[in-house]
């Protein structure tokens, strides 16, 4: 089994075999993260550039730690997309980075499709760390790894994703990968946050929290961003929390002993109550731990595949 592409761009195009391979590899990398000396020389002398056009602490740090634990030199570049429109184009920026002999460029960009656009036009291996509303494929792999470790397998599980589905790349990547793995996916959120053509995803849309959680094996809560209010998607955090928030009372309606996940950072008391976030059902910190392992696996096979 292997992953034989230059880039890692999308969950949508992964096969079940490739997903299995990535999860297996990530499991092997988990062990390294638990050692006292958390470093292997695999990518010694390789250069990984984190090129982030959007503010991100968690994902960037996770990629940085992953790269460093593999022995690579990791350079972080924060760029502003708005200034990039007027100044240097995205393509020029990446070509310049490539000219400095970067082996892998990890890109987060605010435009859907921007990372694929780059990958199609440069030789360096490109890893998608989130492109617009489109995809965040390493997040979906770490979510699947967390679910597989908690539930033993993936096929046949029911996952409910709750929150802003329409504007979430995490939701998109999760849905593609989960459907490929034979999972049933339900979504719930305010109608303003459900995509108009939601049928295209092959998911079920729930009408209320009870329906959303009742038969779920996994509940994934999405982060509610404050700027959503100015975009007319919700009137207030208070009301959002009352109708769409995950609380102990809602958890009582869940019959299948579901685990609770969240891509972070959590808005405590908005989409997720602290009691649930810190309960035994929560796998949020496992997700963070698995994130490093998944990214180590992805960086390794992209860097090595470059040969």
């Amino acid at each position: 089994m292997s992953y034989e592409h230059k880039d890692f761009i999308s969950s949508k195009c992964l096969t079940r075999e490739e997903i299995g391979y990535i999860l297996d590899q990530a499991k092997a990398f988990r062990e390294i993260n638990r050692r006292e000396i958390k470093k292997v020389p695999t990518l010694r002398g390789r250069t990984i550039v984190n090129l982030f056009y959007e503010a991100s602490t968690r994902t960037r740090t996770s990629f940085e730690i992953a790269g460093k634990r593999l022995g690579a030199d990791v350079i972080n570049i924060s760029a502003s997309s708005s200034s990039a429109v007027k100044g240097e184009t995205l393509m020029d920026t990446v070509k310049n980075i490539e000219a400095m002999a970067a082996d892998v460029v990890v890109i987060r960009h605010n435009c859907s499709g921007a990372v694929k656009f780059i990958a199609d036009n440069v030789k360096a291996g490109i890893v998608n760390a989130g492109d617009g509303l489109n995809e965040h494929p390493t997040q979906s792999m770490l979510d699947l790894l967390t679910i597989e470790m908690a539930k033993g397998s993936l096929e046949g599980l029911t996952v409910t994703i709750i929150g802003d589905i329409a504007h979430s790349r995490v939701a998109r990547s999760d849905i593609w990968a989960m459907k490929t793995c034979g999972m049933r996916v339900k979504v719930f959120g305010p109608p303003t946050m459900i995509p108009v053509a939601v049928d295209a995803f092959g998911v079920e849309v729930c009408r209320n929290m009870e329906e959303a959680v009742s038969d779920a094996d996994v509940i994934i809560m999405l982060r509610i961003q404050r700027e959503r209010m100015s975009k007319l998607l919700i009137p207030s955090e208070r009301e959002y929390s009352a109708v769409f928030g995950l609380t102990p009372a809602v958890m009582e309606k869940a019959a299948n002993n579901p685990i609770v996940m969240h891509p972070g950072p959590i808005n405590r008391g908005v989409e997720l109550s602290s009691v649930v976030a810190d309960s035994g059902d929560s796998r949020i910190l496992d997700q963070v731990e698995n994130g490093v392992a998944v990214r180590m696996a992805v960086l390794t096979f992209i860097a090595v595949a470059k040969n």
């Binding site: 949508k12 429109v85 184009t89 995205l90 393509m91 960009h109 605010n110 435009c111 859907s112 499709g113 921007a114 694929k116 656009f117 492109d131 617009g132 509303l133 489109n134 995809e135 329409a166 790349r169 998109r172 995509p195 108009v196 053509a197 939601v198 049928d199 295209a200 995803f201």
Partner: protein
């Protein structure tokens, strides 16, 4: 100077006749094969249409001559079989006064390949606030008035513009897209936008403005022309307006009856248009609308952009494609598939535009008419490449594609301005 076109299959809006065409100087003097002429062109196998009139072209001059100018647009037009074109007012500066308009018509005459009928802006600087001097511009040769590229979002401004234009017998061409509903969207809202994560633009952004403008045309007893119709419901609203006797005309662009939003799946910015490419049902409705006359004309919305400008993130790419030289081959696809007839083509690409623009000597091949003629070889196959493309820009998904059918002779006022 006499020119004789022999063995012509003459396609007019109402019928096809087989005859010859005798041209004396600038005018068609007779439909006959038996005449002495200085020059004889054998048109056997070809279809001979009245010169195509493209009501929607962005020529970019003045201001963005690196994308296109009047000369390159004229060359692309004549090579594409277009003998008259309306250029849009969204130049820099905006064509919002007679002085700029005079510059454009003067340049067009100097180049002499095609007639250019410029649109004047509806509002000063296309800001959507104050009306332009429509009377002055009508005298300078304005085809009509349009803020194309921008929507007149204030209904009161649109109402007054329609009312005022009536005084000069002019029409307002509406770029009908509600900018609030459009938002930051970059493609059609639907399953493809859901899947690609590209922000969607619902058809309702178009239909809500179209019905507003149709109702305002009724209110003002004025003429409104709907630009680049992209959605099925838009066709239905226009059909309703016409049935009500409201003075509404409309156009559709070849890309809107050829391509769908599925083309956006690979984030290729050559498929980013405004209004966006929609779905199969919309394509079918537009073709139906052209067929039954709801959509009066086919207009290309020729929108040149430099390669660098299109080689960016999909969200940041400018909208539109060049279209003058794909006008004929894309429309011929509909004729080949039996969805349109040759007479439909002549009606939508020449006869109706001439009527809308009030050009009584254009749009028809008949004695006494101006000798603007497009001779089309429908079987001619070629790769649309940099050698054939006459535009300064090459932003088209059909670049490099094998196309079928093109103009082999384009005649403007009896003069051959393009021949293969």
């Amino acid at each position: 100077m006499k020119t004789l076109l022999k063995n012509c299959k003459i396609v007019n809006h109402d019928k096809i006749t087989e005859s010859g065409i005798l041209i004396e100087n600038e005018t068609i003097s007779g439909l006959t094969c038996d005449a002495e002429a200085d020059k004889v062109i054998d048109c056997a196998g070809a279809y001979v249409l009245p010169g195509l009139i493209d009501m929607h072209v962005h020529m970019r001059e003045p201001g963005q001559e690196y994308k296109e100018d009047i000369e390159s647009a004229s060359k692309a037009a004549s090579a594409g079989g277009v003998t008259s074109a309306c250029c849009m007012a969204n130049t820099s500066p905006v064509i919002d006064n007679a002085a700029i308009m005079n510059h454009i018509t003067a340049r067009a005459r100097e180049i002499g390949l095609i007639d250019i009928f410029p649109y004047g802006a509806v509002t000063k600087g296309m800001k959507g606030e104050e009306l332009t001097e429509m009377g002055d511009m009508t005298k300078a040769g304005a085809a009509g008035f349009s803020d194309d590229g921008k929507t007149i979002m204030n209904a009161e401004v649109m109402r007054r513009a329609l009312e005022y234009a009536r005084q000069f017998g002019a029409f307002i061409a509406s770029h009908a897209i509600d900018t609030n509903l459009q938002g930051a969207g970059s493609m059609n809202e639907g399953s493809v936008s859901a899947v690609t994560g590209l922000k969607g633009i619902p058809s309702e952004s178009e239909t809500t403005v179209i019905i507003r403008d149709i109702l305002l045309a009724r209110l003002t007893k004025s003429r409104v022309h709907i630009c680049h119709v992209s959605a099925k419901e838009s066709v239905e609203l226009i059909r309703w307006g016409k049935n009500e006797g409201i003075n509404v005309t409309a156009e559709a662009a070849p890309h809107h009856f050829t391509l769908t939003d599925e083309c956006c799946e690979g984030y290729d910015t050559n498929y980013k248009m405004s209004p966006p490419l929609r779905t199969e049902k919309d394509v079918e409705a537009i073709i139906e609308g052209i067929k039954d006359g709801t959509l009066d004309c086919i207009a290309t919305d020729h929108a040149p952009h430099q390669a660098d400008e299109k080689f960016v993130e999909f969200d940041y790419a400018p909208v539109g494609i060049i279209g003058l030289q794909t006008f004929i081959p894309l429309t011929l696809r509909l004729i080949k598939s039996g969805k349109l007839s040759w007479t439909d083509f002549a009606r939508a690409a020449s006869y109706n535009p001439a009527k809308i623009l009030g050009k009584s000597r254009l749009g028809c091949i008949a004695p006494g008419m101006q000798a603007d003629i497009t001779v089309i070889d429908p079987e001619c196959e070629y790769v649309f490449d940099g050698k054939i493309n006459m535009s300064k820009s090459s932003n088209s998904p059909f670049m490099g594609a094998v196309l079928k059918g093109r103009s082999v002779y384009t005649l403007k006022k009896g003069k051959i301005v393009f021949s293969l």
